[in-house]
């Protein structure tokens, strides 16, 4: 009897699992499927390709437009992530470890920014960046990305830092380790997973942005892939760009899928720990 109920319960949960997986994956599989279709079968309306081809991928990697956008996307997201995590880690260390006036204010300000309507910044930034010569440059995008990534970084990192047993540092020093050794051998390894998780979340955020990317750029010089997609043409000007757009879309989805596959636990714990603090 007991065995039977657990089997049935497992079956029921299994069914629900399948439902979730199918629901989550269909749009991704669909765009991948389109990217492998030949021009002749592209508009047949079938979910799976009847004829497979890699031509769409060849096309986009042969055009400067896509390669340039991909370099922009990777460079801008990596730099913004690095800076946001370093600045965020400094602030989060202070918030979780030190006592100083103004701490509440900083937490409040970052909360406000997390909720800030980004479109409200588009018009002033557009004008300010034009005056400063930052419009359509890498720093012109990196700056707003850092700003909006910082609250996320500060919250997630403070949550992680609060869980680090800092007394171990004292213990190591009592056992004769220097301050630097204690930090390098004891604290850094404990903090690394949190930093890494935060870096993934921040990278996903920067990688994802569309509004700033399309408003604060005007040429291929700094346009990232999400913004460049809508300017895509096929191999020639007159060709239907659907296949090329889908192939480019799949290329920028690959890193996300890899992150999710390898670091699912970390991402879930990062998102939930940062959020539950409230």
């Amino acid at each position: 009897m007991a065995v039977e109920t657990t089997t049935r319960a497992k079956l029921r949960w299994g069914l629900l699992d399948v439902l979730v997986v199918v629901f989550a994956l269909i749009p991704v599989l669909w765009i991948a499927s389109l990217s492998f279709k030949t021009p002749a079968t592209l508009t047949d309306g079938k979910f799976f390709p009847r004829e497979w081809t890699l031509d769409n991928y060849k096309t986009i990697f042969e055009t400067d437009q896509f390669v340039r956008a991909l370099i922009n996307s990777i460079g801008i997201a990596l730099i913004a992530t690095l800076v946001a995590v370093v600045l965020g880690a400094m602030a989060a260390y202070a918030i979780s470890r030190l006592d100083f006036p103004g701490k509440g204010l900083l937490v409040g300000v970052s909360l406000l920014i997390a909720m800030f309507p980004q479109v409200s910044l588009v018009s002033p930034l557009f004008e300010i960046e034009r005056q400063l010569g930052l419009f359509d440059t890498w720093p012109g995008l990196i700056l707003p990305y850092i700003t909006f990534a910082l609250p996320l970084a500060i919250y997630t990192l403070s949550a992680f830092f609060k869980q680090i047993p800092w007394d171990l540092e004292k213990a190591a020093k009592m056992d004769g380790a220097t301050q630097a050794q204690a930090f390098r051998r004891v604290i850094a390894p404990l903090a690394a997973p949190g930093l890494f998780t935060t870096a993934i979340l921040v990278f996903i955020f920067c990688w994802n942005d569309f509004l700033f990317a399309i408003s604060l750029t005007s040429t291929e010089r700094s346009r990232t892939v999400p913004a460049a997609l809508s300017f895509f043409t096929g191999a020639s000007q007159f060709e239907d760009p659907t296949g090329a757009i889908c192939a480019a879309a799949v290329v920028i989805t690959v890193p996300i899928i890899l992150f999710v596959l390898f670091f699912q636990r970390r991402i879930v714990s990062g998102l939930t720990s940062g959020a539950v603090k409230g």
Partner: protein
């Protein structure tokens, strides 16, 4: 406290640390500052300064500047006509039917998507938290909509509904669903819900982890049904997490832009306020009107946040520091 998945989970350590904060603060107010305390303050400020500077420089200054821009007639196509005109732009925008249509569309999308996401997200959170089989697979696949680039997902939905190309287009008898207002809005909402339900579910799952297992068992032995356990035990414990999730998702939904841009480009009166502001600014190059809309959107979002905090008593994240206003 949160998930056991965090590598360095040391609950006793944490509670002692947070307990020591108020006492330190208390002593700071009464006793004169020791050298140590002064050094700690200084280090604290030094470490926070760069982050604070960047955040303020990139948001506070521009928002003030945008208030200034909104008080001017400033069209980049006619820069000579730039002049200070007071609140005229606000009158123009607030008496414009396009603005109110966009506002209505945004409000509709926000209310419908957040409501649906709350229900679906709760279901997904329960599945991710309690499933007996395949927990890893469910969590991994649920993260894909969260992580995927919104524009990519939007293109996938667009092609899915494009007549001839898409596998879903035939569901409508008259073809082209993205050329009609009602079906376009429905598709925009579907795309939004697909993309953001997992995030809602993760926030709710964080609350779900706080529900004591003993309490559920006790309720169960006392004869509570599954539904009663959910409404009488889980929901009250989860209330703060639910409110935070609702607040975050409401404000996020109000900014809807990417999906509309790709799916309809705002055609057939499907523009959101963000879309309208973008069009006035980048397409129309009208900085005055664009900035006015920016300011109005900012004010609306501030009102929504205020209502949530005051009316529902949403605890702001970070309030466990004992440091909040």
């Amino acid at each position: 406290m949160t998930l056991p998945a965090t590598p360095t989970d040391t609950a006793p350590e944490k509670s002692s640390a947070s307990a020591s904060v108020p006492t330190q603060r208390g002593s700071r107010r009464t006793a004169p500052l020791s050298e140590n305390k002064k050094a700690e303050r200084k280090l604290g400020w030094l470490l926070c300064a760069p982050a604070a500077l960047v955040m303020v420089a990139v948001t506070a200054y521009p928002i003030i500047y945008s208030v200034w821009l909104s008080l001017q007639r400033y069209d980049l196509r006619f820069p000579d006509q730039r002049e200070f005109i007071g609140l005229e732009n606000y009158v123009t925008v607030l008496t414009n039917e396009f603005w109110w249509t966009a506002f209505g569309v945004t409000a509709l999308i926000t209310v419908v998507t957040v409501a649906v996401e709350l229900v679906l997200g709760m279901g997904l959170a329960l599945i991710m938290h309690r499933t007996l089989v395949g927990r890893g697979i469910v969590r991994t696949s649920a993260l894909i909509p969260y992580g995927i680039v919104t524009v990519v997902a939007a293109f996938s939905w667009r092609y899915a509904w494009t007549p001839g190309t898409g596998y879903l287009a035939d569901l409508f008898s008259d073809g082209a669903p993205l050329t009609e207002r009602a079906s376009s809005l429905a598709i925009i909402m579907l795309a939004e819900i697909w993309k953001t339900t997992p995030f809602m579910a993760l926030l709710l799952m964080a609350g779900l982890a706080l529900v004591p297992e003993d309490l559920l068992k006790a309720a169960s032995t006392d004869g509570a049904t599954a539904w009663q356990r959910f409404t009488k035990v889980m929901l009250p414990v989860m209330k703060p997490a639910i409110l935070v999730a609702l607040l975050f998702r409401t404000l996020d939904a109000f900014r809807v832009f990417d999906n509309i841009f790709v799916l309809t480009a705002g055609g057939n009166e499907t523009s959101s306020v963000s879309m309208l502001a973008y069009n006035n600014l980048i397409r129309g190059l009208n900085l005055g009107i664009g900035s006015t809309m920016s300011v109005l959107i900012f004010i609306t979002v501030a009102i929504i946040a205020f209502v949530f905090v005051k009316l529902f008593g949403t605890a702001a994240p970070g309030s466990d520091d004992g440091e909040r206003r």
